[in-house]
Each structure stands twice: as C-alpha cells, then as structure tokens.
C-alpha cells in the first residue's frame, strides 16, 4: 500500500510518501524530521480523527450541545459515531466533559456547560 500525503505536524507541510514494505514495515520519505515519520505511519496504518459535532438537547434556550470524541477516533468508526451523536438528546443541565455516550470504545463527551 502506498499513500501520498501532506504532513500536518508543523506548518512546513512536507510532502510525504508512505509505503508498506514486503515485511510489513512502513517506509516514509519526504520528511524533514521524525514527526513526519510517525504521522505518515499512523495515517497509513491507523488513521484517526477527533470527531466534533452537535447533538440535540431538551433546552429551548440552547437547542444544540457541542460534543466531541474524547480522543481521536479511528476513521472507519467516524460514520457510526456521528450517527450515534445525531441520535442523542442531551438533558440540561449538562457539564463540559460529561460522558454522553460510548460507541465501540469511542467516548462522546459534552464540550460545553449548559445550565438551561
């Protein structure tokens, strides 16, 4: 497997090429530092993203509650996590950091405190 990507570890944005070798290891070229190697490796083998969205609430003053995955979430799980979020109705009051749901190891937490 081969992937061309732009490193986002620092503003330089090196153009990287990550390639799985016959022995299973990943070779990375185009980087100017070691962070690029780690980034490219992760992107190829186990890409993750922090998922951020909003869910419904039972409040009229604040109809939406912003939420996030507590940690970066594997890309293949994102669609399921989003669906879970859109099905939630958070009840006020809710505090920032409150665990709202968990799906397949991904924790969904509130990112805002709403009194009402």
């Amino acid at each position: 497997m081969r992937k061309e990507l732009t490193c986002i570890s620092c503003p330089i944005g090196c153009a990287l090429v990550a390639e799985t070798q016959a022995d299973g290891s990943v070779s990375v070229t185009g980087n100017q530092c070691s962070r690029g190697v780690e980034y490219a490796h992760d992107e190829l083998v186990d890409p993750k993203r922090v998922v951020t969205a909003t869910c419904r609430t039972n409040s009229t003053r604040h109809p939406r509650l912003p939420v996030r995955s507590r940690e970066p979430c594997p890309r293949e799980k994102i669609a399921g996590v989003l669906q879970r979020i859109y099905g939630l109705t958070a009840e006020v009051p809710v505090s920032q950091g409150d665990l709202l749901a968990e799906l397949d190891g991904v924790q969904i937490v509130a990112t805002r405190t709403l009194e009402d």
């Binding site: 732009t6 330089i12 998922v51 951020t52 419904r56 109809p63 989003l82 990112t111 805002r112």
Partner: protein, 416 residues
C-alpha cells in the same frame, strides 16, 4: 437613564474581551464587559471543532471548551457582565469616555469609564463586497452565518454546496457539512495557494476528496428563487480565461473570503484605522489614537489562532492597568513593515522593555529570516522554519535590541 462608572469597560465578551478584562481585574480595577449576545464566549461558541489551545493550554480543545476556561474565570471574578447589551456610541466624558448602550432588560445604559478596550471582533466579507455577478437567489451564505445556523440553531441550509474561498472557516464548514451528510462539490480559491491552515486542507478537503480549485473564481451565480449552480472561471496569473469556464450545479454557496475587523464604533469615536489591517493603529501599549481607548484581538487585526488572541489581550489588559495607574512609556519608537511583510502590530515599541509584535508575511517561504533593522542597519535576525501569509508570526523584541536607538528612529521588520 442609568449611568454606571467603571475603571475599564471592555466592548465584546469573546476570547479577547475576556482575557483583557481578567487581566485588568487582576490588577484590582473595576471592570465591566459589554456583550451584545446572550452570553459570553463570542465566536468560539459556534466553533465546535478542535484545534484551539495547542499553545495556550497545550491541549487540543474545541472552541466552546477554550471559551469555557475564560468564562469560568470571569464568572468567579468580580467583573460586571452586561449581556444582550449593544454599544451604540462611544463619547468623550469628563476625563474618560461614556458608552451609550441599548438593552431590552435595562433600557438605555450609560457606562462611564476611564479606559475602554475595543474587542468587537470581525464581520465576514460577503458576496456584495466581491461583486460576484449573477442573480440573487436564496442559498448564498457567509460561512460563519452557516456555521451559526448549523451549530447553534440546528438547521442545515442546503444539500449540495460550493465553497468560495479556502479560508479556515470555509474549510472547517466543508468537513462539517460532509459529516452531516451534505455534499461539498468544490472549494474555489482565487489565489495560487490556499489561505487556510494546511492541517485544515488535509483534514477538511483531502479526507473527503473535495476538489480545491486554486487560481479560480466563481464568475456567476445562477438560480432565480434558490441557487441552481455556479460558473467557475480559471484566473491564471489573475487574468480570467473564459475558455476554461465550467459549471457546477449546487443549491448552496458558502463564502469564506476573509474577515473584516468590525470598527464602525471605533471610527465613529475618532479612532484612526489603517488599511494595512483594517484595524486601529496602536502604540506600544495597544492604545489607539484616541486617549484611553485600547484595542485587542480580531478587531485590531485578524488572527489565525485564538491562542494569540488570548496572549495579546492579556498583554493589553496589563497595559490598560498601567494606564490607569498613570504609567505611560517614557518614549516610543515607530516600527513599520519592511519587505515581504504586510502589517505589524503594534506600530510602536517601548525601548525600555520587551515588546511582543505580531506580523503578517506576504510570502510563503521555508527557512526565512525575520530581520529587524533601523536606517539600513541590521539589529537582529530571527530564523523561522516556515512562513506563509495565512499564519501570523509573533516575535519578541528584547529591550537590548532597542537600546541606544535615536528617538526618531523608524524600525523595520522584513522577511528575507
């Protein structure tokens, strides 16, 4: 009509206003924040994505999480908060200023204050400013408005989108829309390079295979009741090439084409504004040309990272407290943008202390040198691994850099 006295009145309760108010309050003064929205937090409340606080807190926070920190601090302080209150006018009054404000709860409120901090943030550049030809159907939104409608109110403005401008707000919205099940067909950027952060190009466009057309413009909007599509024209080297024009059907257009510091109040109060930043000209203490009126955050110059807004506003708060204590710089030296620099804020430095300057480059370059010079003589050289126009640079000038300079020196910061 109520008149309420303060030492400092901060206009705007977003990241900038809260940071400045907290700092002035920490130094023991009576402070109020006047916020037109329902609650404090400013634009951060609708920026539900992460990427905030990497520098300020060494954490990867969402906008509401970042704002929440300051909101909690402000709630625990003795800062007076006026929400749902809009400042209509800043007038001279006694030795200081008087704000005339409108509020549904309190009627007309007059706030008398020795010092004012302008922290009103920005408005978005819109279709009218760009003079995009075509019809005027429903379905044309600025990206920030769409963001508010989606994230705060829970409405989806459309299904098939084209985004004009590769600014961060548009890129973030591209991802947001895809994650909602909408389709973003293209991002159209007039410049030869994107104006948003690379991180966002990768995670908001590349992740979703959304094409980015650099050197292109939307030359016409179609649709009579609602948007039906856009014509896109290549503009290599800034010259339109009609032969390369193509059409993208869509029902919604988002504009992410820049922010304009919201300085109407400032202008009306006689504050001098510079076209370099569209913000007030400020001295080494972040004071504008109007005595006792300070400016900080996006209203002063458009930032890319809220962490810089907090840092800048904390510094400003400190300068405001100094001003209230009667402390003013003995002298100040002018600084101006040199080659490849678009703007430098503030426009003056105090040679007796360290000064934090924020500048915007005009070029993209790796291993660039930031050069401080005076009268052609190089004073200091700072290496930067990478500079690009979409990323503001902050630099610390030490007192030792500024010692022994003649009072009428004009310092220059260049990038080579």
């Amino acid at each position: 009509m109520r008149e309420i006295p303060f030492d400092t009145a901060v206009i705007g309760g977003g990241a900038a206003g809260m940071a400045a108010a907290l700092e002035v309050r920490a130094r023991g003064h009576r402070v109020c924040i006047v916020e037109r929205d329902d609650e404090l937090g400013g634009i951060l409340l609708q920026c539900i994505h992460n990427g905030f606080g990497l520098h300020e807190f060494r954490e990867d926070l969402t906008g509401p999480e970042y704002a929440g920190r300051a909101i909690r601090e402000v709630a625990e302080s003795e800062i007076t908060i006026f929400t749902r209150t809009t400042v209509s006018e800043i007038a001279s009054h006694g030795g200081g200023r008087e704000l005339t404000c409108y509020s549904a709860e309190n009627g007309v409120v007059k706030i008398a204050s020795r010092a004012i901090v302008l922290a009103m943030g920005c408005r978005e550049r819109n279709r009218g400013n760009l003079r995009i030809p075509g019809s005027r159907p429903a379905g044309v939104f600025t990206a920030g408005l769409a963001q508010r409608l989606i994230n705060m109110e829970g409405y989806v403005p459309g299904r098939d989108f084209v985004i004009i401008g590769s600014g961060d707000i548009g890129l973030i919205m591209a991802r947001r829309l895809q994650w909602l099940g909408c389709r973003v067909h293209a991002v159209i950027e007039i410049m030869p390079y994107p104006s948003g952060l690379t991180r966002n190009i990768v995670q908001c466009l590349n992740d979703f295979s959304i094409p980015l057309y650099l050197n292109h413009v939307v030359s016409r909007i179609h649709g009579s009741g609602r948007v039906t599509g856009v014509d896109v024209t290549p503009v290599p080297g800034g010259v339109p090439n009609p032969a390369g024009e193509f059409h993208i059907p869509c029902d919604t257009i988002l504009l992410s084409v820049g922010l304009i510091p919201e300085n109407e109040l400032s202008k009306a109060a006689g504050v001098e504004i510079t076209t370099e930043t569209n913000g007030p000209v400020v001295d080494a203490t972040m004071m504008t040309s109007a005595e006792g009126i300070f400016a900080t955050g996006n209203v002063l110059h458009v930032h890319d990272l809220v962490d810089n807004v907090t840092e800048e506003s904390r510094l400003t708060g400190g300068f405001v407290a100094d001003y209230l204590a009667g402390l003013r710089p003995a002298r100040q030296i002018r600084v101006r943008p040199g080659s490849n620099v678009r703007s430098i804020t503030p426009a003056r430095v105090d040679p007796l202390r360290a000064n934090r300057l924020y500048l915007r480059p005009l070029i993209v370059k790796n291993n660039a040198a930031l050069v401080l010079s005076a009268g052609g003589r190089q004073i200091r050289r700072i290496m930067k691994s990478h500079v690009q126009p979409s990323e503001m640079i902050s630099v610390n000038l030490r007192a030792v850099d500024l010692a022994d300079l003649a009072p009428d020196t004009v310092l220059e910061l260049s990038i080579t």
